[in-house]
């Protein structure tokens, strides 16, 4: 069964617009790492897929951390003498320093200024800033707005609450034939930011929708969580179950027009890393692969040394490296329907590799079987070899119980999909059998041809 073929049959060009429409609905909500904006977001995801909510009270210890107070906000503005509202929360929720404590006061410009954040190099953009773990207040505004502020007194209002409450996150679990899990994690804590936040949420939601109709080898767990503290909370509550995670992806910044970037798991050569390598190389243009580092999104937590889960991070443009990152320019125009749809398809292709990466055994291991009498060979000698035949010969040659289909794809330099199709055909012809032995083993065989070895092999010197 091919997830990707099924996906391609079911989905048309309209898919990208559906994803973008969902992002547009989510965009105005003022999310944070706690609070009603986050709850509203999860509720809108629940309209589409079954999501179970968790609520952890303020003060709950989660490893070295503590669940913070809950933050909610209703309004915020700066009002000069003329009565206009500047940095008006109603116009953009980015205007308020996220997690600002309440304030309502009058003050002179020089008293206000230390609480104002701008981007001088991008004078029309509003920055996005937070202060979760140090109580503070502030406003983010465009540099030009700030320059226009005249000396004088200002009314400053942040109508927020920061009080005992809960940390909320959502979880969507799709059971497969195994309890071994694929983890998909995305953060849901950023206010009106489209690529950083909404692209992951919308793609993950549709992924879950698509997978829920499939007969799955693995179980799939989708986490919609506030960044850092949410991942830490989930891991703290699932410390022993976490080892069921056999493969994982953090999805973020996957709606913009950039080419794909994949940050490898801490292990560096896990099956997820190799599956993504195959899919991005064969299905996308000029992908880039980044080594693991301990800074980034929630892979930081999944890959902490106590867990060391095989979780990588799939992006298009890399956080922090595009100018729109954490500014008002990361808006609905910055993400594109076709890009969202392509990212979704890439994820399906990755899962298709994971679902089908089994080990076969050549039932005629001594010399080649006669493909011609089974209609699997070209009828007349002398022509250039066709790629399909090549894939069949590779599967036969390496199906010795030691190589998975992904191993074979890597060594043959052919796409996994071509190798899988060849294996299906050979299986139907009775030439290969699924390698018996523990299924678990066939999925985790210590690959004799690691990617590193393959890299060396490609250089073509003995």
């Amino acid at each position: 069964m091919s997830l990707l073929k099924d996906f391609d049959q079911k989905h048309s060009a309209a898919l990208g617009h559906e994803l973008h429409r969902f992002a547009r609905e989510l965009y105005p909500i003022c999310r944070s790492i706690t609070g009603d904006g986050l709850r509203r977001t999860l509720a809108m995801i629940q309209d589409r897929i079954p999501v179970q909510l968790a609520e952890l009270p303020t003060g709950t210890p989660v490893f070295d951390w503590t669940v913070p107070k809950e933050w909610n906000i209703h309004d915020a503005f700066i009002k000069p003498a003329d009565g206009r509202r500047v940095a008006d929360f109603q116009k953009s929720n980015l205007h308020v320093l996220n997690y600002s404590i309440p304030v309502h006061a009058k003050m002179l410009l020089h008293e206000l200024k230390p609480h104002l954040f701008t981007i001088p190099e991008k004078p029309d953009w509003i920055p996005y800033r937070t202060s979760y773990y140090k109580e503070d207040w502030g406003f983010c505004l465009s540099h030009n707005q700030m320059l226009a502020l005249e000396e004088g007194q200002y009314e400053v209002c942040i109508d927020s609450t920061l009080a005992p409450g809960h940390l909320t996150y959502g979880e969507c679990y799709l059971p497969g034939r195994r309890t071994d899990e694929v983890l998909i994690s995305c953060h849901a804590c950023h206010p009106s930011l489209a690529n950083d936040n909404l692209s992951g949420l919308t793609v993950a939601t549709h992924l879950a929708q698509f997978l829920s109709g499939q007969d799955l080898h693995y179980s799939y767990r989708f986490l919609f969580i506030p960044g850092t503290i949410g991942a830490i909370a989930w891991l703290a509550r699932n410390q022993s179950n976490a080892q069921r995670v056999r493969h994982g992806l953090v999805l973020t910044c996957i709606g913009d027009a950039g080419r794909f970037h994949y940050k490898k798991s801490r292990r560096g050569n896990a099956e997820i890393d190799r599956a993504v390598f195959d899919v991005l190389n064969h299905h996308t243009e000029l992908p880039e692969f980044l080594e693991f580092s301990p800074y980034g999104y929630d892979e930081r937590q999944y890959c902490s040394p106590g867990f060391n889960l095989p979780v990588g991070c799939l992006m298009r443009s890399v956080w922090g490296s595009f100018p729109e990152y954490h500014t008002s320019a990361d808006n609905l125009d910055f993400i594109q329907p076709a890009r969202l749809a392509e990212s979704l398809r890439v994820c399906v292709a990755i899962f298709d590799v994971l679902e089908n990466n089994r080990c076969y055994r050549n039932l005629n291991p001594y010399c080649e079987p006669q493909l011609g009498k089974r209609g699997l060979y070209r009828p007349t000698g002398g022509e250039a070899i066709r790629a399909e035949l090549n894939a069949r010969l590779w599967v036969l040659n390496l199906s010795d119980g030691e190589h998975t289909l992904l191993d074979i794809a890597e060594r043959s330099l052919l796409p996994f999909s071509a190798i899988r199709d060849a294996a299906d055909l050979l299986f139907q012809s009775g030439l290969v059998a699924v390698f018996s032995g523990e299924d678990k083993d066939t999925k985790t065989s210590p690959h004799s041809t690691s990617a590193a070895a393959i890299g060396a092999a490609r250089r073509s010197r003995p």
Copy 2:
């Protein structure tokens, strides 16, 4: 004892012409995977070296295959109304689709055309085509010949027989001090094709002639076989003995003017792969090394997963990649006396590495021995080091029982021949001893410095 030095003493420039003369004698014969053309070819090889013939009856099962009917041919032509013979088998045996069933009929041009094969891009060349396992008939002719055929009726004659008979192959075994074998395999089933077929046959025959006069460490087995079915038949009849094959080469397309190409064994880093790497790099210009793939010549069978023998394929131009391949242009002009002779010498050099790749033990492992007092050092300090001294120091430094001479050659970047000469000298001086222990072990020690490690080392970063 150096095979190569002995070879160079015995052979002059005349050798290439001798090889080419033999190819010329073999050229006109219409060979196929069975039949009298193949038998005649083997008989001519028997005039030079002792070859034992095997004859397997049609219908004999060999693994997944069955020995096919025997094919013989006496004449074939197309005759237009004017009575000329077109596509005349007497002029070129390539004109008949190899393994054509008999046919004698009159037909119109449009009935004939589906049975004609040409190469539109090379309008003067006759293609070589076969149909071994699907009964069919046809003619191969130049595209210009075909274009000149006018509408009308044609007499079509293929005077062949396809009937129960035998599959024939030849085997020349040269016993050495060990029963461990070096396998040399070449196909003998192509009709008038020079590089693809005759170059391998002539070089292999002369190799056997040369080796038969030598005191050999290994036994050598030369197979002159029809492609695919012959290799499969030999392996089926020698399934258990095949494990005696410690090193092997398929020889093909080694008479043209191209530089050397070596396709590695499935193992990729077998001793034969490393020996060929040393010899081609140090004795030839710009050699290329190709990764194993399961498509190609009979290495496909030797390297099938049930056998996985360390057999590579030595070529000059690579089959399928030069325009003359499988056409009438692969003729006696396409192969050159000097190239045949050089290919033969390269094979001797490769066997020279295999024969002499032993492990020595430095008898003074603590500090350097004093080479000067034995006349093995330069007498006065201050000059540039000579390469010979360097080779001696490398042999002393790495003769710790863990490194073969080939390991030392790889790490020192010196040719195997220089390392072997140094080891001989040190042995004569009593400074090293042949590493005792099972000889078998010394020849197959799991090399701590694999070629991959060497590759890394050459990049010169710790």
Copy 3:
């Protein structure tokens, strides 16, 4: 404790001049592999650091070698009919072939000529030549000097003695908390040659001076020895103790203006190799790393197969590759105060890595600890990551008991010093503990991330 920070506090720009002044004092002495010149040199080192002398009588067997006769020289010259002194030993001790037997005779120019050595390509330079193990006599002079010699009779005088005596070497041992040793070896047998000989002697002497005031993890052993025979003699007398050498450096040619070159130990990836790699890459410009070869300085003996000690060779310009090598142009102008001082500092930095390369254990291995509440994180989100934070996250992520700080530096691409500083800070904050278990193990753990693996990882493909 950081050796390097302490060094930088104590030493100013004057250091280079101090080193150069010491070289100037040592320069005029006529050293050889035995004799009073060598003894005088060791005595001048003893004025600065505690050196123990060893004297081995002529004839003493040391492995495959024998301690030679002792050589001393008082005068040497060639006197033409006009009574001038040509090739006057009093003007340069290079004029005499080192280890020349005594000679006092009259002879014609053509009889003298076979005993004259010059460098035609550098007609004003005197070569340095030796004949230790073959009794001979000769003179080295500039090519122009030789061309000026007219036909006629010459008085030839070498007032030397070659007679039973002793081989002398010096040893300075600085005990640390462990008996495991760091070996620093330099040769002291060259006459008036500055870079090749004196640069190593002066830097090693000052290194010992600096280290003697420190609280050291390892013990340090400095050898001031005649080349080859001295290293062999020391190893012969310390055969079993030699295994205490955990890291070693041969220091030579480290005073000239060239960039650094490091020749790796025979092991190729020993901790010393990796420490030098880190220091040269992060502290110096464009360093080069050379693979081990069995020719060179005394690393030849330390890395002989019976010992295989982890000893590399640190140089600036590589012996034999600069024109001044082994000529009168390798003089006091060829070495520069600032270069000597930089070489000394590089050695201190290398030892700083070795002394501090321990293994830590993250005490909060599940998810990241909250750095912010400890003042170890930036207070406000949204800014570019600072390198210090990055180092802290890497130490936390890889302090799993399997990675030393050097492993972490290699994988993170950060300098060891940055990783060490981060580890100190985390230790002070109670976030990491020194990995308990055998100290020996923590210092020699078989690193899962070898430099080779790191090299592969840097290429950034899974």
